[in-house]
Structure formats: C-alpha cells, structure tokens
C-alpha cells in the first residue's frame, strides 16, 4: 500500500526547503537527535537499539557455527535480515519481506561487508569446514524516515557488542569455551549517511514527511578514512555530478560525527 501524501503537505514542505528551512527547524546538514544503546537483549550475543528522531530499530546478532561457502572456504559468513514490523508504520504489512525490506538489508549488508567492519577471515575455525556465521537481524519498530543510517549505525554497534565463545579443537571436534568469550574482530566502523533531494536541494537525514515527497535519495557509506564503501540511489529524479561530489564531502564529516555515538 502506498501512502498518498496530501498536496498541501507536499507544497508546504517544498516551500520551506525553497526558503532554506525544514519542517522541524533543522539545517540542511543537521541530524535529528540520535540515541544508541547496546547490550539491550540479554539472550542475544550482541544487540543494540538505535533511535534517530522517532525512527527506532532494534538489532540483534546471533553467531552460529556452519559450513563456509565453497568459493570462500576460509571466510566467515555474515547474513543480514530486516523485518519491517507492521507496528512501525500503517503501510508496513506482515508477510514475506517486500522490496523496501530487502533493499534495507542489502544496503546495510553492503556497507558492513565492503566497509570491512567485521574481519570475516578471523571467523574461520577449520578451513573449508567450519566457520562462524553471524546473523544480523534488524527489527524496525518505529518508522519516521531515514532507516538506512539508523540500520547501519545500529548494526555496527550491535556487532561491536557481540561476543562469541572461543573455540578449541579436541579429537577433531570443535569445543566451545563459553567461559572465555571474545568480542567479534572489528577493524572498521563504516557508517552511512543519507540525503534526500527535494526541489533540487539535498538535505541530510530526511524525516518521514520529507521522505514521502522527495524526488530522489542518495545513501553514502563511508569508512573511517573517508573511503566510499557503499552507495545507493533511490527515487525517480536524477542527481547531478556537482551535487553528488558536494554531498560526498558532507557525508565524510557527518559519518565522523555519527561515529562519536558509537561506544
């Protein structure tokens, strides 16, 4: 179900952007209030709750031992799944994941994988046979725009919070030592920064109202040293070269700012 935006909301938001203002009084390059908690789920090996404005995502990680993929026998497995819970927004339905949910999972996964957040090679236990598989489950429990930044920020926090048991090999069998837990090998904190194009302007961290009327969206994933590790464009309108270069440099500053929220 597509939510229909009343013409007068479209008009009022666009007019504000034209005058260099936003509905909630923020600047074009200003995030809403961000809060991040980790270790909120006792039963999960790692967890986080992230809030950007009213957007709220709960993330849990579950490491399991499994067989690696044939083409990467010495690399651990990372799997991301997103659940857009019906309680988060009136137009979210239960059932199999829809395109939005798949997009969010894949963009989050891309940012974490290509940003080399987790050192997956260190998750190998026996080459070609046993590796750690890390499942990253994102549950969107409140939707007020900009899920992508929240998803990546929360996922990185949850991964940093994850502890796995150390493994030993005795008589060709893997023994898990729950007494000695070790954190996941994290070697990078890649984060994402999303811009929405409204009336030719690119504004950071779009709220739900802004997301509903935006012409295009650009999400940029960046590593700590400012390399782009993921990029996703959405929406029908085109983006021009100058604008993209400009927002990439803003994204570099803003991801650094986001990183200060990480523990």
């Amino acid at each position: 179900m597509v939510h229909i935006v009343p013409e007068i909301i479209k008009e009022s938001v666009t007019n504000l952007v034209k005058n260099g203002e936003r509905t909630d009084g923020r600047a074009f390059d200003e995030y809403r209030e961000i809060s991040l908690e980790t270790g909120i789920i006792e039963k999960a090996e790692g967890s986080a709750r992230v809030k950007i404005g009213k957007t709220q995502i709960v993330i849990g990680t579950k490491p399991q031992i499994g067989t690696p993929f044939g083409d990467t026998p010495n690399v651990g497995v990372l799997m991301t799944n997103t659940e857009l819970l019906p309680m988060a927004a009136p137009n979210f339905e239960s059932g199999p994941p829809d395109e939005n949910s798949v997009e969010l999972s894949r963009v989050t996964d891309r940012c974490i994988r290509e940003g080399k957040v987790v050192d997956l090679e260190k998750l190998c236990i026996v080459e070609g046979e046993k590796v750690w598989m890390v499942f990253l489950d994102l549950h969107v429990i409140d939707y007020d725009g900009n899920l992508m930044d929240a998803a990546v920020l929360g996922s990185v926090a949850a991964l940093m919070n994850t502890k796995i048991p150390t493994t030993k090999i005795e008589n060709d069998e893997i023994v898990l030592d729950y007494e000695n837990m070790m954190p996941l090998p994290i070697n990078e904190k890649a984060l994402m920064c999303t811009f929405a194009k409204i009336d030719g302007e690119l504004i950071i961290d779009p709220s739900l109202e802004e997301e509903e009327i935006m012409g295009a969206r650009l999400s940029i994933g960046m590593t700590e040293d400012g390399n782009i590790c993921a990029m996703q464009k959405g929406g029908a309108q085109p983006l021009d070269r100058e604008k993209i270069l400009k927002v990439v440099s803003i994204a570099k500053m803003k991801t650094a700012e986001l990183r200060t929220h990480l523990p």
Binding site: I4, V5, P6, E7, I8, I9, S12, L16, N19
Partner: protein
C-alpha cells in the same frame, strides 16, 4: 471505596473502585471491582468512573466534522482517509446533485477536504458530506496530527485555547474531530502554531495548560506575556475542570445543532469565507 484520585494516570488492570461505583467508558467490572482497560486518566463524575485514554484512534461518529484526504476516485464517489481505522466515502451526488461531471476535476487524489460525517452504518461505512457552512477543499497551509482524545483540550473551554492561538499567530486554524488540524498563515507563524499545538498534545493531561500555552506563545513571538490582550478571566481551578470528556460532549452537541440549521449552504466555498463558520463550530 475508591482507590484512585481524579485525573490519576492508570494502566490496564488497575483497580479503580469498589462496587458502589459505576463502570464508565474505558473500564470494566470484575469481581464487583471497577478496573481500567486503558492507559489513561481517571475521570470521576458522581458515582461513575471512566478512563480517558492518553492516546486513541478516531472512531467516526455521526455529526462530527473531520479533515480527510482523497485517496481514491471511483465511478461515483471519492474515497477519503479520515485518520481512522475506517475510511470514508463522499458520494458524487452530494457534491454535484443530479448533474454528471468528472470527479477528478473537482477533487483529485491528494486533496484535503473539510467534511462532515453524515452517517456511520453497522459495518462502519462512513458516509461523508460537504453540505454545511465552511466545508470544502483546503488550499495551502499545513496539517498537524494530534490524538483525537486531545482535540477538546486543544479547543479549550468555549474555544479559549484555539482562539488564543488564532489571535496570537494570526493564523486560520481548523480542528477536525479526527485529530487533524489545519493551519494557514504566515509560514513562520504556521511553525509557531505547530509547535504550540504539539506542546498541547504532549501536555494535555496536565493542569494549568492555558497559562503555559500563553507563555509559550509569548516566548515564541517575542512579546511579554502581560501584553497578551485577550483575557480568559477564569481562575485556574475552573480551567482545570475543563476536562477532556466533558468538553468533548459539549462540543459535539453544538456541532449537531449547527448541522441542522446550515444545510442550505453551498459547498466548496473559498477559504476566506470559511473562517467564521469554523469558529462557530469550534466554539
């Protein structure tokens, strides 16, 4: 025996009183005790206890005035989202009479209308109408959503709260019973009104709200609170009794009265003409 005070916040399952009290809205009786079935504020009227929910969804009622947006155009009617679990419809015959015209030329998808609930049937099909003073399409302005139970608080006693916002911000303000508020004025004033309305929604369950709203308006507009020229002339205790349920009832009866006397008037009037009639309805 009563276990709670008036205006106390309760949660579902809280025991409110013994058998000598009657169970009102938002409560149920179990083992001769009145219990809350909602999160909300206790309202005690004589021997009747009810709980007014802190948050609610709008349930359409005949005679209410609501703000709805067109979501679909069908062969002979418009479908409207009225911020409720039930969607409403506006028959084309209500707008055109017997004439046949193209529906999308009059109201298109995405338009926002000010309507009256003409009828709600057993299966909650909500029939809407545009007959009445000031009903029609909105042009410009902004929309603000609040919880429908807080609508009476936003209007205030005899419209005191809403008139204060109107006077101070020089905005046109229209409140639908379904919790949608339309504000039109100077863009900066619209923002002020939005902030104030959101504050009222946040703090609707507290007392002394009118004073805080007055101070907030003064602060946002950069004038001294004393300079505010309107007077409510009501001591705080009276204002406090401006309690959610009571004012709601008062208001609805008045709206019904208006609906009876103003049927002959045209729909789709320009917004300027609307203004007066709205005040009538809201007061």
């Amino acid at each position: 025996m009563i276990f709670v005070e008036d205006k106390e916040i309760v949660i579902p399952g809280d025991i409110l009183a013994d058998e000598e009290y009657h169970s009102g809205r938002g409560t149920f009786k179990e083992n001769d005790k009145v219990c809350s079935s909602l999160v909300g504020l206790v309202a005690i009227r004589d021997k009747k206890i009810s709980v007014i929910p802190l948050q609610s969804k709008y349930i359409p009622k005949r005679g209410d005035v609501v703000i709805g947006e067109v979501t679909d155009i069908r062969f002979s009617m418009w479908n409207l989202d009225i911020n409720s679990p039930y969607s409403g419809f506006l028959p084309a015959s209500d707008v055109f009479g017997k004439e046949k015209r193209e529906l999308n030329r009059t109201f298109d998808v995405g338009d926002v209308l000010f309507l009256r609930v003409v009828d709600v049937d057993e299966v909650k099909k909500v029939k809407l109408g545009l007959k009445g003073r000031g009903l029609g399409k909105f042009r410009g302005g902004i929309l603000i959503n609040i919880t429908p139970t807080k609508v009476p608080r936003l209007i205030g006693k005899k419209g005191s709260m809403i008139n204060m916002i109107k006077d101070q911000t020089h905005c046109e303000v229209i409140v639908g019973q379904n919790g949608v508020v339309w504000v039109k004025g100077e863009p900066s004033m619209e923002r002020v009104a939005e902030k104030v309305i959101n504050m009222i929604e946040d703090q609707a369950h507290t007392s002394g709200l009118t004073d805080r709203v007055r101070n907030m308006l003064a602060k946002l507009l950069g004038i001294e609170p004393e300079e505010a020229e309107y007077e409510l002339g009501e001591p705080e205790s009276v204002e406090e009794s401006d309690e959610l349920e009571i004012s709601e009832e008062v208001e609805i009866t008045e709206i019904i009265e208006i609906s009876e006397e103003s049927d002959e008037l045209k729909k789709s009037e320009p917004p300027e003409e609307k203004e007066e009639s709205k005040e009538d309805e809201i007061d």
